[in-house]
Amino acid sequence: MSYHIVVCGSIVPDPLQTLEPVAGPGGPALKNEMMLPAVLDPWAAHALFEAANLAKNVPGSKVWLVSVGPKAKLQQVMMHVAQKVPFELVVMDGPAGGFVEAADTAAALAKAVEGITGLDKGKLLLFGGWSSASRGTGATLQILGELLGVTEQFQGVDELRPADDGSFEVKERIEGGGYLRSRCAGAPAVLGWATGNLPEPPNNPQVGMQNMRLIMPALQKAQPAAVGAAGVAYKAVELPGTRRQTRIVKDTPVDDIAREIVEWIKG
């Protein structure tokens, strides 16, 4: 049993960047959004690495990365991502910021997935991050699954273990540092990944060159995606305002510091 693994993931501002909201013509946006360095959404990146690892271990499997985002920025990010693992890129040209609707993004992704030539839905595993680092709803994958008729869904996945009969075991994060362990009879299924257990793969220039042969045409033929936030009115979008007056305690004996900390703990 092989898998057709479709990883959904877009780009987000580099986590090291300080963000600032501005009012744009279509609603809230980020200041200098197109100038901010971007990365593949961290949880989606984990999903991509897990997908590639699964495809490597299950012969006949294939990985697609489906993304809704501004294609110019996607091209920059793909120069880096393409060196990590083999995949075929499918692009919908649209906004990747936080202030868009999960339902719109899911609809655009569904259209892109439906358009993948050679995709066998009986083998389909829909991967993605269980939440994004932009909108952070943890909703897009479930909606996408519903649109595609896939009702075996898992979120906060850290482990997928395939069996020879096509079934697989999944471990999903739940409250209190525990895992819910389930066995799914097989594809199709939706899996929203947490971090998984794989380290980030090292750059491989050969993989990068192979990927880029398909990435550039995919970017060139990207269809526009109608993604927005119709029906939502943002009354305020702001950075958290509280800056604390940090008391610096230095050149103080360890005993005094420890005593103060213990008093605070017990207080």
Partner: protein, 340 residues
């Protein structure tokens, strides 16, 4: 007029959890603000005890989806049950706790109902006769207040944002909803969780101890001392029953096969790709860094840090107190004092 449904599920012990009771408070306040009635919808293996525990909460009706298939958390059966509950109540607004179980299925339910979902909301009020929710964007780096025209509208409420409802027990009369036939292809095998005395992630704890990569660095003698670090960290957790969090850099070291602090996993990670804990107090040790760390710290009320850098970008402006000292020495003494 809006029709409000409070949607929840009992925990393994049959009772509603704290997050569920907080969401009930949010639903009640919303109903009061809108002058609209609200109903309760419960799903689970058996929900009578949970319903009885909130029987006097003021709900107009109690809808129940229960049975063996709903005893365990599974997308296909949970989504079908939640859809049936929403339809039975005729809900235009649904308020639910952001538990792992409901967070997984409710977006799909919104799609089935032709509605929309806003998840992990940290505020829910009424403004000009309409619900106004607050939620965070870009991983707790930006907060927005928003209203929505679309109905039905499902709102999940993040933990620790409302005071939990309490003491409204009685005897609830349940209305069973018709559940559609679902043939799940997923079998729930069970829950993997550490034994209680080995548990280091404690969402209910008053305090969070965050361990940073500094615990693994070379000390004054030119050697690293992971065993000593583990002794200090675990000793503190044992004495205080605090929860443990970690910076990404530290759990990544463990994940890359380095036996640094073997009790740390990605589950402990807070921040950009980790949890956003909500403990009352937080003590960060050997941490320093940039924006990704800050987001894991956002909802901790009282914050203190111990590290060797007086100009630490993480602590400055974000911690209430920064102790510039060797965390090994400080924590050893703290543990000694706590042990007395």
């Amino acid at each position: 007029m809006e029709t409000i449904l409070y949607l929840a599920h009992p925990e393994d012990n049959g009772a509603l959890g704290r997050t569920a009771l907080e969401a009930l408070a949010a639903a009640k306040a919303l109903a009061a603000g809108l002058g609209a009635p609200f109903s309760v919808g419960l799903l689970g293996g058996s929900v009578q005890a949970a319903a009885d525990s909130i029987a006097a909460c003021g709900a107009a009706a109690f809808f129940a989806a229960q049975g063996e298939a709903l005893a365990a958390s599974r997308y296909s059966t949970d989504a079908a049950a939640c859809e049936a509950l929403c339809r039975a109540a005729g809900a235009t607004l649904v308020v639910a706790p952001a538990t792992a179980r409901l967070a997984r299925c409710l977006p799909g339910v919104a799609q089935r109902l032709g509605g929309r979902v806003d998840s992990n909301c940290t505020g829910l009020t009424v403004e000009n006769g309409a619900p106004l929710v607050s939620r965070w964007y870009y991983r707790q780096r930006m907060v927005a207040a928003q209203i929505r025209e679309h109905r039905p509208w499902i709102i999940t409420v993040a933990p620790c944002c409302f005071l939990a409802e309490d003491g409204q027990g009685g005897s609830a009369s349940l209305q069973a909803v018709d559940l559609p036939a679902v043939t799940p292809r997923t079998e729930v095998l069970g829950i993997d969780a550490p034994a209680a005395d080995e548990q280091t992630i404690r969402p209910e704890a008053e305090m969070l101890l965050v361990a940073g990569a500094g615990w693994t660095k070379k000390q004054a003698d030119g050697q690293s001392h992971p065993d000593k670090a583990a002794e200090h960290i675990l000793g503190f957790l044992d004495r205080t029953k605090a929860s443990l969090g970690s910076s990404k850099s530290l759990v990544d070291l463990s994940g890359e096969g380095q036996s640094v602090l073997p009790f740390l996993t990605h589950l402990h990670q807070v921040g950009q790709t980790g949890a956003t804990p909500r403990h009352k107090k937080g003590l960060a040790t050997c941490c320093h860094g940039e924006e990704p760390h800050v987001v894991g710290w956002r909802f901790i009320t009282e914050r203190r840090a111990v590290n060797l850098d007086a100009g630490c970008g993480w602590a400055q402006g974000k911690a209430d107190v920064l102790y510039v000292a060797d965390a090994f020495a400080v924590m050893a003494k703290v543990n000694e004092l706590l042990g007395k």
